[in-house]
């Protein structure tokens, strides 16, 4: 990462962390590695603007809604509970903030017709493993709020939802996103790939730069 400066001709650089939330890496590691001391820092003759991570940008909300349309087309939202799943950890409260913010945004949308929208986590309550109790509706839609698909979205969350076992194929070959819907606990469940896999994430990166400019009057 520190070598990246050498390959850039431009004098002005925007750094957008491809992370789903604020935390140790965005607040400590990246600034340390790139010698950043604030929103804008002069480093080795270049002006570096340090943006917020993609995951906390408000436009992530429209990404989630688009993903729902793709994963569960035609499913009646009035009879559905939407679960947004984060990792959760006792180590950093910021890790849940991005998920809670998304839930709040979606709930307040004028055209939100979901019976309920709930933030859930792998490692802290409310646990996604309790989705069957939390959902009071016949349909449930689950969107992992992760930057990329990996062990959590391929295996850990499917196991917590109850449709995958630890044994068997390599996690990445389980095709957990292609077997919708799942019929579990007398409900119909739709499971999405990690939100960061959405191609529109590229637009969110650009949105984050525009937001930085607006907030910091960079231009």
């Amino acid at each position: 990462m520190r070598e990246a400066f050498y390959m850039i001709d431009a004098d002005e650089v925007y750094v957008v962390p491809d992370f789903i939330s604020e935390g140790y890496f965005t607040q400590e590691v990246i600034p340390r590695e790139l010698s950043l001391t604030g929103p804008t820092t002069e480093v080795h003759g270049k002006t570096i603007h340090y943006c917020d991570p993609v995951g906390i940008h408000p436009s992530m909300t429209s990404l989630i809604l688009q993903r729902i349309d793709e994963v569960a087309p035609g499913v009646p939202q009035e009879e559905s509970t939407l679960f947004i799943v984060g990792h959760g950890t006792g180590l950093n409260k910021n890790s849940t903030k991005a998920v809670k913010d998304q839930v709040d945004h979606i709930k307040t949308l004028p055209n939100c017709r979901f019976a309920d929208v709930i933030d859930t986590y792998m490692e802290e309550p409310p646990f996604i493993a309790d989705w069957g109790k939390l959902a009071k509706t016949p349909y449930a839609i689950v969107v992992p709020f992760f930057i990329a698909d990996g062990l959590h979205s391929y295996q850990d969350i499917p196991m917590m939802l109850g449709f995958e076992k630890e044994e068997g194929l390599a996690a990445s070959q389980k095709e957990v996103f292609r077997r919708n819907p799942y019929h579990l606990q007398d409900k119909t469940l739709y499971y999405s790939a990690a939100i960061g896999m959405e191609p529109m994430m590229a637009d969110v990166i650009l949105d984050q730069i525009s937001t930085f400019d607006a907030q910091n009057d960079a231009h």
Binding site: A4, M7, V29, R32
Partner: protein, 212 residues
């Protein structure tokens, strides 16, 4: 001067190799140095294809560092500009042109290993506890062409502690026995994250050995 101009000037001076890449002119082409029969190679015209080609070795193993001496063969790029060539090279070997240019102009910011280890936080903060002796051993078993690294090491342990003489510390960043003036050497300005991770493991082993 842009890096595209730097590359263009380098080609004019007779440079035709970087890492495991051979550069041919008229028309501008890029292929693996081990490929001889160019007619049998898979042709690419989009420099962005280099990203995919550089991900795995010929036998399908993930190349966890781009400087690994394991680039697969069997492809050739036919490119329409030096800009496109620069793009492809930067995808095969990120920042290699810029690092070389900076080293030529004495603008490279080499970081010695102790400085690198001392600024680590989180689980890697323990890497700083590795001994000098442990580091010297790690260099010999992780760096240099014998360990599949294509880069010339510019750093030392600290200002007063150079790396011991070895194939790894002597390597000049140029693959093969060729005229030095015809290649851009690959340079290592600071230890990679893999080296830091291995330093942490080594420090742990040293600690456990002392406790026994």
């Amino acid at each position: 001067m842009t890096l595209t101009k730097v590359l263009s000037d380098a080609l004019d001076s007779g440079i035709n190799q970087i890492g495991q890449l051979r550069i041919l002119r008229g028309p501008l082409r890029l292929h693996h140095i081990d490929d001889v029969n160019l007619d049998s190679l898979e042709v690419h015209t989009d420099p962005d294809d280099a990203r995919e080609i550089s991900l795995y070795t010929s036998d399908g193993k993930y190349r966890f560092t781009k400087g690994e001496l394991s680039l697969k063969t069997g492809w050739i790029f036919i490119l329409d500009s030096v800009e496109a060539l620069r793009r492809a090279i930067d995808l095969f070997y990120p920042a290699s042109l810029g690092l070389w240019n900076a080293s030529q102009n004495n603008e490279i910011r080499v970081q010695n290993l102790r400085d690198k280890l001392n600024r680590q936080t989180g689980m890697y903060r323990h890497a700083r506890n590795v001994s000098d002796e442990g580091i010297q051993k790690l260099v010999k078993c992780l760096c240099g062409p014998s360990n599949k690294c294509v880069k010339k090491i510019l750093w030392e342990i600290d200002e007063t502690t150079p790396l011991e003489d070895s194939e790894a510390s002597r390597f000049d960043g140029i693959v093969g026995d060729i005229e030095m003036t015809t290649a851009i050497p690959m340079v290592c300005q600071e230890a990679c994250n893999f080296f830091v991770a291995q330093s942490r493991k080594k420090a742990k082993k040293e600690f456990e050995a002392r406790e026994q």
